[in-house]
Symmetry: C2
Subunit: 359 residues, 2 copies
């Protein structure tokens, strides 16, 4: 039964590269590949009524997850969802004000609020995510693997404490510096929730998982270790790493974390996401053969011409160099005003130009 | 005459530390020390009518520059001004919409617009800045040195092309990737303007200058070298380095540039600003004795208790270690909602705790 499922996967380049196994070409996907830059996404979203309505409707979430695969020869799909589903399920009341970022009705700012937080059962409060994963797997039909994901505990906590996006991180760092004990209680509970959430995604069919540490890069090296990395490590250690007869690779991505790749590589994860502020050749030297690397072209390259995009792809491929262990990606999510034809140029360029590195 | 002026400076710790000469205690100042967290600043600003009105009135700009020195035993004053005065003087029409960041009436988006840009005469179009420098020097009366500053060409160009603050840098990177020739024309002209501007500040009395590369950290390593660092180097090479019988040290600060300290140290500058994402011991190992270091406590530490602030200061001092070459500072501007008493705690802690490192 398990073996049947394994052979069902028609394109396993992405999973192989994450485990540094030989591949024919460098696999490629794009962060936020299911998103606003696609007219068909905007149409489905307007059908759903809202962004959250789209996340919470498994059929529509599946539809937008699949959309970029119809246009581009991508090597992986990523679950369409929001990074703040877990705090929402913990009772904070996620909502999106028009034209603004995410907000919570009930941010967490007191000891009592932290103590009263529950750890949600992912098959109950987050059933819509698991149903989306199952629906997408069925629709993908083994075409490419499906990536599940979560925000990192530190990143979730920043939104949970601030109640919205922030520039200064005044409240969450106020708690971190002023009441580190509370901060740890909040991070610990959130970590428990994320472990359950990602394991449920894996059991529902996610074939790799990625932890987005969007705000780890606003910490000092010491605070990053204590308040972000330690909890990501606890997650990596708590995950189901084998399912359906296959390994389930884990990718850690700290935006702005280029200085900390060595210590991130020691968490037991399989791969690190790298943004464009670090060259892949430098990153590879520093992490050795401990982990694979995912990244890292500046997404703004997609504003330039097809020739310039191909040149950019060439530079990133050359920077990683020969051998497996590279998953091509943008260094951050694709911007909403990008022309989809340019994304096609990028994906095709990766496949066209990378075989030389895999002989 | 020159020698008289030199002996006039009662506290030269800051200038000495920037040149890695022995000091009794570690000098300290705070980025945005003249700012909204001070009630007296808010009063003067409301008198001026607007932020730009304050910048353009030499007497009031002098008043707010001096205000933090009345409260705290700071070792340097920094000219109160805006980083976008140069593009304003180039004709772009700087304004501030209420509750928003800076904006330009006439952003630069075409080849014709770049070609028609003039390089302003700082004693004409920017006379208000030079008058502020002269007024402040007179009022300071040798108490501490005065720092002049400018935005880096890349940072100025981001605002000039985008027309406002930006999250994605779509337009300026669109130009950088799509029309690098235009980008270089714009950066080159802006560099000429910044050299004239900083030299005029030095001649008017600025005793050190700092280049704020607020947005260099959004570039890849290769693009940082080409589009930001190369122009900062041209500035450093073009500056008046001696005035009033003293050296005029130059500080470069790229926010998020912790990965590039080695190459920044090779520009010929005297010191590097370091944000809190890089430890000073690591930074010091990497730059050797080539430059001094300025920084780098997380400004959010000021939300915690006096004891926690002292602990934080202790860690940063210990991280730099023994010997001169350290100017204590925040890793970024002080936040507007900080209690001024906490800033006093920080400044006093630096003076209290640092003598051990200078025996």
């Amino acid at each position: 039964m398990e073996c049947d499922k394994v052979t069902d996967l028609k394109n396993d380049r992405f999973l192989r590269a994450l485990q540094r196994e030989p591949v024919d070409v460098t696999p490629v996907w794009m962060m936020r590949q299911a998103g606003r830059y696609l007219p068909e996404y905007r149409e489905t979203r307007s059908k759903a009524g809202s962004f959250l309505g789209l996340c919470k409707n498994p059929e529509l979430a599946c539809e937008v997850t699949i959309q970029p695969l119809r246009r581009f020869p991508l090597d992986a799909a990523i679950l369409f969802s929001d990074i703040l589903t877990v705090p929402d399920a913990m009772g904070l009341g996620l909502y999106f004000a028009e034209g603004e970022g995410p907000r919570f009705h009930r941010p967490i700012q007191t000891e009592a609020a932290i103590k009263s937080l529950g750890v949600p059962d992912p098959e109950e409060e987050l059933a819509y995510v698991m149903n989306a994963v199952r629906t997408i797997r069925r629709e993908l039909d083994g075409q490419v693997p499906l990536i599940g994901f979560s925000g990192s505990p530190w990143t979730l906590a920043t939104y949970m404490v601030e109640g919205s996006s922030t520039k200064n991180f005044a409240k969450v760092k106020g708690m971190m510096f002023g009441r580190p004990d509370l901060m740890h209680q909040l991070l610990s509970k959130t970590t428990d929730a994320v472990v359950l959430y990602l394991n449920a995604q894996i059991r529902a069919g996610a074939q790799a998982v990625m932890i987005f540490d969007t705000w780890g890069g606003v910490l000092s090296p010491a605070d990053f270790r204590i308040f972000s990395l330690a909890y990501m490590e606890r997650i990596v250690q708590g995950l189901v790493r084998r399912n359906e007869g296959r390994n389930v690779p884990v990718i850690l991505f700290t935006k702005g974390g280029g200085q900390w790749l060595e210590i991130m590589a020691q968490t037991g994860c399989d791969a690190l996401g790298v943004d464009w502020t670090t060259d892949l050749d430098d990153a590879r030297k520093r992490v050795g053969d401990r982990v694979a690397l995912q990244g890292n072209i500046d997404p703004c390259i997609l504003y330039s011409s097809p020739e310039q995009i191909r040149e950019g792809v060439k530079r990133v491929l050359a920077s990683y160099g020969s051998g497996s262990g590279h998953v091509f990606n943008l260094g951050h999510g694709i911007h909403p005003d990008v022309n989809p034809d340019r994304a096609l140029t990028l994906v095709e360029a990766v496949h066209d130009l990378s075989p030389a590195y895999h002989r």
